[in-house]
């Protein structure tokens, strides 16, 4: 695959791998799903398609960052501020990141 976009794809993969270490279901679980997702699209050659897939990968990265931030924020809020409970629908956010992969 001597595609000019190869470098970007590899960089995206490494980024997502690094981000996925703290995934709630385990870094290994995330890594396996990540590898499956990337190898599924191994044979794509069209530049536009690859760019679209890279954009989707970056979106997953941003979703992960949001997930980690929300988890930490809510843990801090629960511990240090009284009369606070999880808002409705917070579990849906966690599920969404999984489906995207």
């Amino acid at each position: 695959m001597a595609n000019p976009l190869r470098g970007e794809v590899v960089r995206l993969y490494k980024n997502l791998l690094y981000l996925g270490r703290e995934y709630p279901k385990g870094g290994d679980y995330f890594r396996d799903r990540l590898r499956t997702a990337f190898s599924k699209n191994k044979s794509v050659q069209d530049q536009e398609q690859i760019k679209a897939l890279i954009a989707r990968g970056e979106f997953v990265g941003r979703e992960l960052e949001a997930l980690y931030f929300l988890r930490k924020y809510r843990a801090m809020k629960k511990r240090y501020y009284e009369e606070w409970c999880y808002p409705v629908g917070w579990r849906a956010k966690k599920k969404r990141t999984e489906v995207l992969l």
Partner: protein
Amino acid sequence: MSGRVLVGVKRVIDYAVKIRVKPDHSGVVTDGVKHSMNPFCEIAVEEAVKLKEKKLMKEVVVVSCGPQQSQETIRTALAMGADRGIHVEVSGKDYETLGPLQVSKILAALAKKEDAQLIILGKQAIDDDCNQTGQMTAALLDWPQGTFASEVSLEKDGIKVVREIDGGLETIKISTPAVLTADLRLNTPRYATLPNIMKAKKKKIANVKPADLGVDLTSRLEVLRVDEPPQRQAGMKVETVDDLVSKLKDAGKV
């Protein structure tokens, strides 16, 4: 206003880890346990980086006091956008007794040495929950303090700080130089992604010993005992409302 911001960060046990008390009740198990930057310190670093990005401050210097591993925490802060780091090496017995008083003495000495205009700290550390370092640092330097800051804006004649207090929000204006402590709602800290961490490897981390700063680390406190909080009692399930009322009456609550 152009100047240097000093940000203090602390390496603590990760917030998601289940804490275990040592069998001899002398402290908490820290060996082999995941550590990371204190969440409130992350918010402090983010605020400092934001000030630099808005061109209100020239340089962000990150400080951490602790053993060799504290350098990882400084690297994370550098990856978030700080310019350089200072690692104050404290290890062994000194590190076990290191508390807000000693840290604030170190920060005060560094602020004078580095000629800082602003010190931003997290409001408290999640491991000791002292909430003292910021206040003590301000007192040692005789600088005004804006603690529990949920909004900070730099103006020509000072800093406007909106503080989160029990009754709601309090807006104060303080002159520079000043000490600020960050509360949860100040900002959303950015994640230190891999490319940023790679770039941060080129940034410098200076090594300093407390003796170089002329700080005495002896502690006036001694930890006598550490215990776990009492276990939560299991709840009881009841079938009907009458059942609930009779159970409450039995327990003497009604």
